[in-house]
Amino acid sequence: MDNIVEIRGLTKRYDRKEALKNIDLSIEKGKVVGILGPNGSGKTTLIKLLMGLLHPNKGEIKIDGESPGIHTKSVISYLPDRNALYGWMTVKDAIQMFQDFYQDFDLGKSEELLKFMKLDKDMKISNMSKGMKEKLNLAMVLSRRAKVYILDEPIAGVDPVARDQILDAIIDNYKEDSAMIITTHLVRDMENIFDQVVFLGDGEIILSGEAENLREEKNMQIDDLYKEIFG
């Protein structure tokens, strides 16, 4: 089996509230998986568990064969849902920080991505628009040669031009030997890049499968299906 991520019976409670209930999910290498659901559906909790930032109450997670910890952190490249870089930094500083932090950081790749995103290396992060910050964060995350990329709401709140650049960067950086997990509620804009989709609602998987099979079976696009499920 070439599953890079294996989740079995995963349950997470905050006090009495169940944020995730008995989640099963397998992700193969080379696949792009969309985790779809409205705010509060459990997407961020799932990601925090994958990142090892939270501990499950029940069930298990295996990433590259291991439970979340030092090894899994080294193979996951994570784009948080908000800017993770300091305002005083320039683009150059951000590159330096990523190079210091991550052994798998590919400097050549980062130059290529920054050029593609049209980001000036001397620009200060505090002077950037939301779209520019998102592009910079994504460029850093995609410049790592990771086994799993986790992108949390990569296009939320960015302008259409930046959104297209972000989508192009994701497609261009698709790798057969790694997996991508992308959360979004902007299904229309992103559905064409998913191999597999998972509809998450109230902490449970309502529906999951190959995107193309679901389109064929339900005779509608994933966005229409999303509206039917959550509308």
């Binding site: 080379g30 792009v32 497609i171 261009d172 698709y174 005779n219 696009q221």
Partner: protein
């Protein structure tokens, strides 16, 4: 690009490529864009393009040469029948639309004739 119908995206891309071949945008024997370039152009997952190319290959409309890429067939008869099939589909959908507007099939040749004369 937005894919609006209920069809899987790979099938919609198959139709796009067939249209490019029939209209001559892609010529007989021409190399198709690489899977990656096509994925970027249409903003879809490369696996989807791979599947579209696979389907076109199954229908003998394209062929793959190892390490070289995917090419439009050289076989004129395949291209002719592709064109005929697409024309037929267009005619059927035209006829269905006209029937929905309340015309009978018998009226269609007359209407077409008039249109053609007007267009000249």
């Amino acid at each position: 690009m937005n894919f609006d119908s209920g069809l899987p995206i790979y099938m919609q891309i198959v139709e796009i490529i067939k249209a490019r071949i029939v209209t001559g945008t892609l010529e007989r024997g021409e190399k198709l864009p690489s899977v990656r370039d096509m994925a970027t152009e249409l903003k879809v997952n490369p696996n989807t393009i791979q599947r579209s190319y696979g389907e076109l290959e199954r229908e003998h409309i394209v062929f793959t040469q190892r390490g070289m890429g995917t090419f439009v067939t050289e076989d004129e008869s395949v291209l002719k029948s592709l064109k005929a099939t697409m024309a037929r589909e267009k005619m059927i959908s035209f006829m269905v639309d006209m029937e929905q507007l309340g015309y009978t099939r018998d009226e269609l040749p007359g209407i077409l004739e008039e249109m053609i004369v007007e267009g000249k």
